[in-house]
């Protein structure tokens, strides 16, 4: 024990030493900032904060509200751990792999390891500091990773999840980001992905399904799963996602102005169309429109507009968002029931299917009138764009499925992927994290026991822990 603790100390210390010593600081040498525009930079600062917010606490609550109350903290911990881990991985090597100068259109290279050469000066071709661009993209990587957890909550081991996060962002996310946005081969084919239809939603949706299949079903699935424990948290989460999505989509213009405004408008409208259509579908087919449905439809619309946000007209966004609800409703209600996979929080049904529809829809509705830097789609006389988009989709699906499968199989050689039956039964909050989310038993509000001499034995007793010594 004593030994293990020492090892930790050595590890931590050397890590920190490394941190400030190993890399040259010349990155910051030239702080000219010639081309930095304050308005654009402010928009990216805000967008970065918004993406952080849609992730934590947004995604965490969106997911947490839908799980049983004994797994809420565990669900949040998957998100929180990805948040902190991927942020660091991104800074250390992820950004370099995804947005480095690149090696043959395939791999970003090592130039930006540890955010070397990533400083306050404007990024090439943009009017915003390189550093905020890098952080903004890092938050994309982090939330994308965390979205996957929705497929495997209530059963995957916490340590496995952390290792998975590190590997996944490195060998699945970073390559796809490089290929699509970093100047890699896919972008040269002409595929359009404004804010992450393939890179974010298809990757995460397909990876979640793959992970759900590899990790296996919850023991309670399908006949005894717990109903969502708190729909108000779910709603809050959904709306935080919506709020943050403005930073996600309109921020992807990488500047303030007309294009950001277009993306903002299409986002709001596609989300609304998605929400409304889902409400109407439920009303027509089930007589009762639900809150879960309305919010899920909104998210489906937002997912679908993501790749298209800066390429399509406002009216097209109605169609994209509205039809997203139709396909996602089908996925959740028909496909899932038929195939019986346990994608716990419907990541595949919403992000996967919605993302695929969005990517294809971009090929249908894109218009150079909206964005000259884009392309025309099917409706504007260019059916080939649909094919190009289909290639993007295919690449993303394959990369996600194979990458996730391989990562999990490799991990499973070293450790079991899922918690034990007993842990699953007692709930992961207590069994993995030793905490209860809610301590609301009124009886605990009782006065001090009259026998303070035996604090540990007394009812409801609490004792100051002996600190590090006791372990």
């Amino acid at each position: 024990m004593r030994f293990r603790r020492k090892k930790w100390l050595v590890f931590i210390t050397s890590f920190f030493l490394f941190c400030f010593a190993a890399f040259p600081l010349s990155a910051f040498a030239e702080g000219e900032n010639a081309a930095v525009d304050t308005g654009d930079t402010t928009w990216l600062l805000v967008s970065s904060a918004l993406v952080m917010f849609m992730f934590m606490p947004g995604l965490a609550l969106f997911y947490g509200g839908l799980v049983g109350q004994r797994n809420i903290l565990s669900t949040v911990m998957y998100s929180l751990s990805s948040f902190v881990v991927v942020t660091l991985v991104w800074m250390l090597w992820g950004y370099s792999f995804a947005f480095g100068p690149g090696v043959g259109g395939i791999f970003g290279g090592f130039d930006f390891l540890g955010f070397q050469h990533v400083g306050p000066e404007a990024k090439d071709g943009l009017t915003i500091p390189h550093l905020i661009f890098a952080i903004y993209q890092g938050l994309f990587a982090a939330i994308t990773t965390a979205i996957i957890s929705g497929g495997v909550v209530e059963r995957i081991r916490f340590s496995v999840w952390i290792v998975f996060s590190i590997l996944w962002v490195t060998i699945v996310y970073a390559p796809m980001a490089f290929w699509t946005w970093g100047g890699g081969w896919l972008s040269k084919l002409g595929g359009l992905d404004f804010a992450g239809g393939t890179v974010v939603h298809i990757l995460s949706g397909v990876s979640a399904l793959t992970a759900a299949l590899v990790v296996g079903k919850r023991r309670s699935f399908p006949h005894k799963t717990l109903p969502p424990h708190n729909l108000v948290f779910f709603l809050i989460g959904a709306m935080f996602l919506w709020f943050g999505w403005f930073g996600f989509n309109a921020g992807s213009a990488l500047a303030s102005g007309g294009l950001a405004s277009v993306a903002f408008a299409t986002t709001q409208i596609a989300g609304s169309a998605g929400g409304l259509v889902w409400i109407f579908i439920e009303w027509a087919l089930r007589k009762k429109p639900t809150l879960v449905g309305g919010a899920t439809g909104g998210i489906a619309g937002l997912v679908a507009i993501t790749p298209a946000a800066g390429y399509v007209s406002v009216l097209s966004s109605v169609a994209i968002g509205g039809l997203a609800s139709v396909v996602c409703y089908w996925a959740l209600n028909v496909l899932k029931a038929k195939l019986q996979y346990d994608d716990t929080l419907d990541v595949f049904g919403v992000h996967g299917i919605g993302g695929i529809w969005g990517a294809i829809a971009t090929g249908i509705f894109a218009s150079k009138e909206v964005n000259p830097a884009g392309a025309n789609g099917l409706l504007y006389g260019n059916p080939g764009q649909v094919a190009t988009q289909a290639i993007d989709v295919l690449v993303a699906v394959l990369l996600a499925a194979i990458g996730t499968f391989v990562i999990l199989k490799v991990i499973s050689l070293f450790a079991p992927l899922r918690v034990t039956e007993e842990q699953e039964m007692s709930g992961l909050d207590i069994s993995l994290h030793g905490e209860n989310a809610y301590n609301t038993f009124e009886g605990m509000n009782s006065e001090m026991a009259p026998a303070p001499q035996s604090p540990f034995a007394a009812t409801g007793a609490m004792a100051v822990h002996a600190g590090m010594k006791g372990v």
């Binding site: 839908l66 399908p222 799963t225 109903p227 969502p228 089930r286 009762k288 639900t290 879960v292 449905g293 899920t296 409703y329 959740l332 209600n333 028909v334 899932k336 029931a337 419907d346 049904g349």
Partner: protein, 112 residues
């Protein structure tokens, strides 16, 4: 003395307590419980998955009454809690062998 354990629909709780007050029974202890019986549970649907719960919200009233009053109490509860639909609930009567008022130490019927 008898202990009545009364299971009713939550929406009838205030009618029942009012009816008991009317006949002079003011002391009682109430809890949120879940019932199972002939009545079927609600079905709720989340994202295409139907959750049918057979735990139906009920309220339980426990009230100790003197031997000569308990029939009257049963009448009062029945009048106030009945809807005629399945799920109206039950009353169970058990014997109380002793009762204490903690504040005074009194015992027996004077406790009520």
């Amino acid at each position: 003395m008898k202990l009545l354990t009364i299971i009713i629909r939550p929406e009838k709780l205030s009618s029942v307590t009012a009816a008991l007050h009317e006949i002079g029974i003011n002391g009682m202890t109430i809890s949120d419980v879940r019932g199972q019986g002939t009545q079927k549970g609600v079905r709720t649907i989340y994202r295409g998955v139907e959750y049918q719960t057979d735990f139906i919200m009920k309220n339980k009233i426990e009230t100790a009454v003197s031997d000569d009053r308990y029939e009257q109490a049963i009448e009062a509860v029945m009048d106030a809690a009945r809807t005629g639909e399945v799920g109206d609930g039950k009353i169970f009567v058990t014997d109380v062998v002793d009762a204490v008022r903690i504040r005074t130490g009194e015992r027996g019927d004077s406790v009520l």
